[in-house]
Amino acid sequence: MPDWQERITADSRPATRAEHELRYALAAPLIRAAARWCDLGCGAGVAAAAALGDEPYGGSALLIDRDAAVADAAAAAVQAREATALALDLADGDALATLRSTLAGDEPLVITCFETIEHLSDFAPLVTLLTELAARPATTVLLSVPNDDFWAIENPHHATLWGEGALSELRSLLPAGHVALRQVALQGTALLPLDGEARASASVALAPGVASHLLLAFGAEAAKLGPALPATRVVQADVVEQRRWERQRESDLLYHVAALRALEARLAETEAALAQATAAAAAPTAGEDDDAPAASGHA
């Protein structure tokens, strides 16, 4: 079972946080230009807050999660002129009706729905609502799904499985002109002067590769994402933690190999002893021979 954390929190792996932050960072210019922003499946709002930065969002943010406490945390984390938390189960028809009425109006609106629809066993009503909203003149929707297909990840929190095949199915439901993006994982290293506290940034060469996540944008401002690409977010690896995890795994492996060898040796010994005992039990003893009658029948 892969190691994962479903909710992105301050304790999440830096790489996981970075990939989540990048999605919000991509949306951030659209959000800032809109009067309203609705984040579906907002979680604790950590990535959204990081992507929006310290400059408060001038519009009104609606942060929606199934868990009211988590939505409240998101509303507290996100710097906005007005941040409202709302607990809604997006698989529920009544909740979607509430969402539809809450988002009524013609003001420019951005809806983000990252890593959410895979949690819904019936995502069709939500997708229908999002396409309906995106048909309005000033609404833009951004959503993302994980690429489960490639890694064959079985996540107990996911009700549906996503990958390029499922994304093709979803794209066939979306309006023409939608934007589809692949999010790729990055690995690398950097050299810095040993002395001093140098800070630097570096560029990354990118090529088409297997996606870790798949993003879709549709609606009024979706085409504006094009110039923002490629978007990258690289964070320095926490090598101390990574080293601990890898060393633990290696030492565990060494321990288990040794334990297995010891068990195999003991098993071999036991089998040998058992064979010896079986042979001894089967062979006639000297005393028994003495007592056995001779073939002739004489004692």
Binding site: S121, D122, F123, A124, V127, A152, G163
Partner: protein, 417 residues
């Protein structure tokens, strides 16, 4: 939503099974009122598909009296009955480009191709069909809904059953009488193997399989039995020449069997050569046999392919997920305006013209043959010919004809060309 699926019949086939699964999902999980409309008089009792009990089945006459939100043709012939139903939207659920099933000069081929000119919305199960349709009919909505897999039947094992030191267990599935299923070349390729193997052929007609060409011949069998067979097998060998979504290897994947396949349409939806399966060339029985021998010898490679096949299967959607996409697709089709009625008219006219030209050609050929056959027909009507025929068929004359036949062979050959 009130939905009608039009079918020719409810006999056992992969295509009908897919329709029944979608209908069942729409009825049970999405609250739609679903009717299976049989457009033909039924000669045989329906196959007992799982889920059929939850669906209403009726004939075309009854369906004509109803009104539907969406009417869906599921096979090219049913498109010709589609407009007999009163519906808000007309849809063609395409599981293959079905004209390919027929010989180039058959009457069915242009008729099957011609349905793509009609003003319909499309739902299809394979990416390659969706891409083809979007090129052929850019005006028509085309939605992709991949088939799900019944994971309660094709229940993947937690861990792969690694087999070493046994014959390579191969399954060949399909009706050998259907030319595009490639059953004969598959059996022939296995026959050319050098390594130990065990071949099971799954077919409804055992009489067509030559004795000794397979170790076991089974079928027709239920899905549960098929799943068990795949679970006990290493390789699904499938050399089809026409496929839509290409389901059998995927079912095998779910049970931990890899596949050896030709690069038929639909294979690349989930099969990756050297990763979870082995793709061989067209018409290459020797090469196919070598690939199978390789898998029989190299158990490390076989285990690698089988393990990855199982992983591929784990992420394939269930029928529940597939049903969500079908529900969303039908909802979108109903919500959006219908396709423009005249967009396919140009192609329809061209296809009709082509059919007319073809018919004219056939008539011309027929008349030409008739003219050439005239002397022979005149000869056949003469009294001498009738007497000769009587003699030819008389039992007492048979020994004489047996003696004469080799002497007249050359003459007959010259006469008949």
């Amino acid at each position: 939503m009130k939905v009608a699926f039009l079918l020719n019949d409810l006999q056992l086939s992969g295509g009908v099974g897919v329709v029944v699964q979608h209908a069942r999902e729409l009825a049970l999980r999405h609250g739609h009122e679903v009717t299976l409309v049989l457009v033909r008089e039924q000669e045989a009792a329906p196959w007992q598909f799982d889920g059929l009990a939850h669906l209403r089945v009726e004939g075309l006459d009854d369906a004509r009296r109803e009104r539907f939100d969406v009417a869906i043709a599921t096979w090219w012939e049913t498109v010709y009955s589609l407009y007999e139903l009163d519906a808000d939207r007309y849809v063609h659920f395409i599981q293959s480009l079905e004209d390919r099933f027929y010989d180039a000069l058959s009457a069915e081929r242009p008729a099957a191709a011609g349905v793509l000119d009609f003003p319909l919305s499309y739902v299809t199960e394979a990416s390659w069909i969706a891409q083809t349709l979007r090129q052929a009919r850019p005006d028509a909505p085309c939605l992709l809904v991949r088939n799900g897999i019944d994971k309660t039947v094709f229940r993947s094992p937690e861990q792969l059953d690694v087999r070493v030191g046994e014959p390579l267990r191969i399954v060949v599935e399909g009706n050998p009488q259907v030319w595009f299923k490639g059953v004969w070349p598959a059996i022939s390729a296995v026959g050319r193997m050098r390594e130990p193997r065990h071949l099971t052929v799954v077919t409804g007609d055992h009489s067509k399989i030559a004795p000794g060409s397979a170790d076991a011949v089974v079928g027709p069998i239920s899905h549960d039995e098929m799943a068990a067979l795949y679970g006990a097998s290493d390789v699904v060998l499938k050399l089809s020449r026409v496929e839509g979504m290409f389901g059998p290897p995927l079912e095998g994947f779910h049970m931990g069997a890899t596949c050896v396949v030709a690069p038929v349409t639909g294979y690349d939806e989930y099969i990756e050569h050297g990763w979870n399966g082995w793709v061989v060339d067209w018409d290459d029985e020797a090469g196919t046999a070598r690939a199978l021998d390789l898998l029989a010898r190299d158990r490390r490679l076989l285990t690698f392919l089988r393990a990855n096949a199982l992983e591929t299967a784990r992420t394939w959607p269930t029928w529940e997920q597939s049903g969500v996409f079908m529900a969303a697709a039908l909802e979108k089709i109903r919500r959006d305006p219908p396709p423009p009625p005249y967009a396919g008219a140009r192609q329809l006219a061209a296809d009709s013209r082509m059919a007319l030209d073809r018919q004219r050609l056939l008539m011309h050929e027929r008349n030409e043959y008739r003219r050439l056959a005239k002397p022979a027909l005149r000869l056949k009507r003469t009294g001498a010919w009738q007497r000769l025929k009587w003699l030819r068929e008389h039992p007492a004359m048979q020994p004489v004809w047996t003696l004469v036949r080799p002497l007249t062979r050359k003459l007959r050959s010259k006469l008949t060309g």
